[in-house]
């Protein structure tokens, strides 16, 4: 694991290179201990042990499958969001963008009575366009991404409701379960498969695939180095010839892609999409990335960490229910648990770097 993820020393380009050079001189264990996601790994073990010891149902295979599924719905988005955050930007529109994508596919297919795959292709174009627009406005105006994507978030929220109402006359899309291509699309985006007699949702598999691909890009390719460089210090990255604008726009489009995938999952899992949903989820994606060791300032973090962060959230959200704690306290505990994870994270990081 740690060998696989060892970053190659980037070309002398400012962003983080001094750090990586130091790392290569250390022992394997030391190298492992200073990885960004180790803190979250410790946090995950603590959270898991806690629920494992107090909640009986938590110990069953079915419960683990449910938790993995809940984590994957956040985790798939956290892949794109973590990459973007390593590149030094935020995306507050990611939560509603998922719904936008599901709505676009469903209504396009229904309105024009075409195969749902055509709707899915249209939605992909829409999602990538939203990502491109976010990145393009950011690069053009030089505004902070917080403001650009906040505006996009509000605009999308309005569009979701307004256009759905215009097209269907309702506030949710029409059920498209009987349309051509629905079954094959469901097989891709929302089926489940059996592992040791337990039904696991396919999103868990996709999640792992996305994490692996994103990790490979970050650790083994030029683009990965660009992302770290842009997030670490934009100006020096530009000075050594990193195409900053293209990297940023590409990162926003990557979030667009993951939003498209999550939107397709919602649509084919549940047949309809509610236009008013998705608000607030963008913070969960950011939280998952931060718990996993990404810094809010950019230039540091890993996608594996974001995956562990999403898993911590999934365990907490579902574990509280398995443990039978009072519903009114759910979000207090979710918040406390995430805080605990972040604190452990920071503590492990300082300890490991001290030695």
């Amino acid at each position: 694991m740690s060998q696989l993820l060892t970053p190659k020393a980037p070309p002398p380009s400012g962003g983080g290179s001094e750090k990586t050079l130091r790392v290569t001189r250390r022992s394997a264990l030391r190298r492992f201990m200073t990885r960004p996601e180790v803190g979250s790994l410790v946090g995950a073990v603590i959270v898991f042990s806690l629920f494992f010891s107090i909640a009986d149902p938590f110990r069953t295979g079915g419960a683990i499958a449910t938790i993995l599924y809940a984590s994957s719905t956040i985790g798939i988005m956290a892949v794109g969001v973590a990459l973007l955050m390593i590149g030094g930007e935020f995306d507050l529109s990611a939560g509603v963008a998922v719904i936008t994508s599901g709505l676009a596919a469903s209504m396009f297919a229904w309105y024009f009575a075409v195969n749902v795959w055509v709707g899915a292709a249209f939605a992909l174009a829409v999602s990538l366009a939203i990502g491109f627009l976010n990145g393009w406005i950011l690069v053009r105006t030089r505004l902070p991404s917080f403001l650009v994507t906040l505006s996009m978030f509000l605009m999308l929220q309005g569009l979701n409701i307004a256009i759905t109402k215009l097209v269907t006359g309702q506030v949710s899309t029409t059920n498209i379960a009987n349309m051509d291509g629905f079954d094959s699309a469901r097989a891709v985006f929302a089926s489940s498969f059996s592992v040791l007699g337990i039904d696991v949702r396919i999103t868990v598999l996709w999640w792992l695939v996305f994490v692996a691909v994103a990790t490979w890009v970050l650790m083994r390719t030029k683009v990965g180095n660009w992302i770290y460089a842009v997030g670490g210090n934009q100006e020096s990255a530009r000075a050594v010839g990193v195409p900053v604008a293209r990297v940023k726009i590409g990162l926003f489009m990557t979030v667009g892609f993951t939003a498209w995938f999550s939107g397709m999952h919602l649509l084919f899992m549940f047949n309809t999409v509610q236009s008013g949903e998705g608000v607030g989820n963008e913070l969960l994606y950011i939280m998952a990335a931060v718990v996993g060791g990404c810094l809010l300032t950019g230039g540091y973090g890993t996608v594996v960490g974001a995956a562990i962060g999403a898993f911590i959230y999934g365990m907490t959200r579902q574990g509280i229910v398995y443990a039978g704690w009072d519903n009114n306290w759910v979000f207090f505990f979710v918040g406390a648990m995430l805080l605990l994870a972040v604190v452990v994270n920071g503590w492990v990081r300082t300890q490991a770097n001290k030695r």
Partner: protein, 327 residues
């Protein structure tokens, strides 16, 4: 070093908070009177709703559910999430816990279809309440307790015509909520005057107040403000004052504060769907099914809990119960 102690203190603090939390029991706030209870074996029932946290309506539903649970030796596990897919996860979660019954609100029937089918496959009886009157029977849900939004909206619209209203404003507090849309559209069909819809966000009351007030200033023909929830009605009263309008308020659903307002004549009437009854019957029906195999409505007909009107003629007797938070 100093930084280290801060972290340790934070860690200890968070950990102790969590420990405190685990010490709280999951039971509701009532002392269960075991003396009056039954001696049937203990059952675990999961109740899953689409509550937006902090709405008084759901407190009343929960009060009914808790009372039924206390009476019948039931361990009630209540969970809620306004997002449809989270509700589906919570149902899956209840299946994993192997509960003896699931009571669920079908505000988004299509989304919950799969999870409910899984529950039935696992042999767990499912009853629906509060919303989903059109769909529950087709989904294999065995019983339904609640009202028909279309009926309630129609009754409301007819009453508006009766009192001679001309222009009604229908305030929807949760954009994208099918049941609320149905109330306003049915009301509009039955009402002979004009009605229009205003969207507000119930999670943000100051915004609700200013939106209604701005609308009333912009259109001074509006003579009735119709709200779809008791807390919104109370806010609408303030908004009417702000706007200096002389519009009257009538609402769907009640709470103790609203019953007081009807007594004082500030609110004209409320259509009551009796949330206490919905919660109570949903839990009790699962107990009956588990202990005696009964199904209310025989699996095909809904059990209606409304619509009933609360107005100056009957408000005094209801006020007694409203004080206790059960009407």
């Amino acid at each position: 070093m100093k930084r280290n102690t801060t972290y340790t203190a934070l860690l200890a603090g968070t950990a102790s908070l969590l420990l405190l939390g685990t010490a709280c029991s999951s039971e509701g706030g009532r002392d269960t009177a075991s003396e009056e209870g039954v001696d049937t074996p203990e059952l675990t029932i999961a109740m899953i709703t689409h509550e937006v946290p902090g709405d008084t309506f759901w407190d009343i539903v929960r009060a009914g559910a808790e009372d039924a649970a206390a009476k019948s030796n039931i361990d009630l596990e209540y969970a809620s999430d306004p997002e449809a897919r989270e509700q589906a996860s919570l149902i899956q979660n209840a299946i994993d816990r192997e509960v003896d019954g699931i009571a669920v609100t079908l505000s988004t029937p299509d989304v919950l279809e799969g999870a409910i089918a899984d529950a039935e496959a696992a042999g767990i009886p499912v009853v629906a309440f509060n919303s989903g009157i059109e769909e529950w029977a087709d989904m294999g849900v065995q019983q339904y307790f609640g009202t028909d939004e279309h009926l309630a909206g129609t009754a409301f619209g007819e009453r508006l015509t009766e009192v001679g209203a001309q222009n009604a404003l229908c305030v929807i507090q949760e954009q994208g909520h099918v049941a609320l849309e149905t109330r306003c559209s049915s009301l509009g069909e039955a009402f002979e005057g004009d009605s229009e819809v205003l969207y507000v966000d119930s999670a943000n009351m100051p915004e609700v107040r200013s939106s209604i007030s701005a609308k009333l200033q912009e259109d001074d023909d509006i003579d009735y403000v119709v709200t779809l929830g008791a807390p919104i009605a109370m806010t609408a009263i303030d908004a009417i004052d702000d706007a200096g309008s002389d519009a009257a308020v009538a609402t769907f659903d009640t709470n103790s504060e609203l019953v007081g307002a009807i007594q004082e004549g500030i609110v004209q009437w409320a259509v009551d769907q009796q949330p206490y009854l919905q919660g109570y019957l949903a839990v009790d029906s699962l107990w009956l099914y588990n202990t005696n195999g009964n199904t209310s409505g025989g699996g095909t007909e809904p059990v209606l809990t409304g619509p009933a009107f609360v107005d100056e003629t009957n408000v005094d007797e209801i006020a007694v119960f409203a004080e206790e938070g059960t009407r």
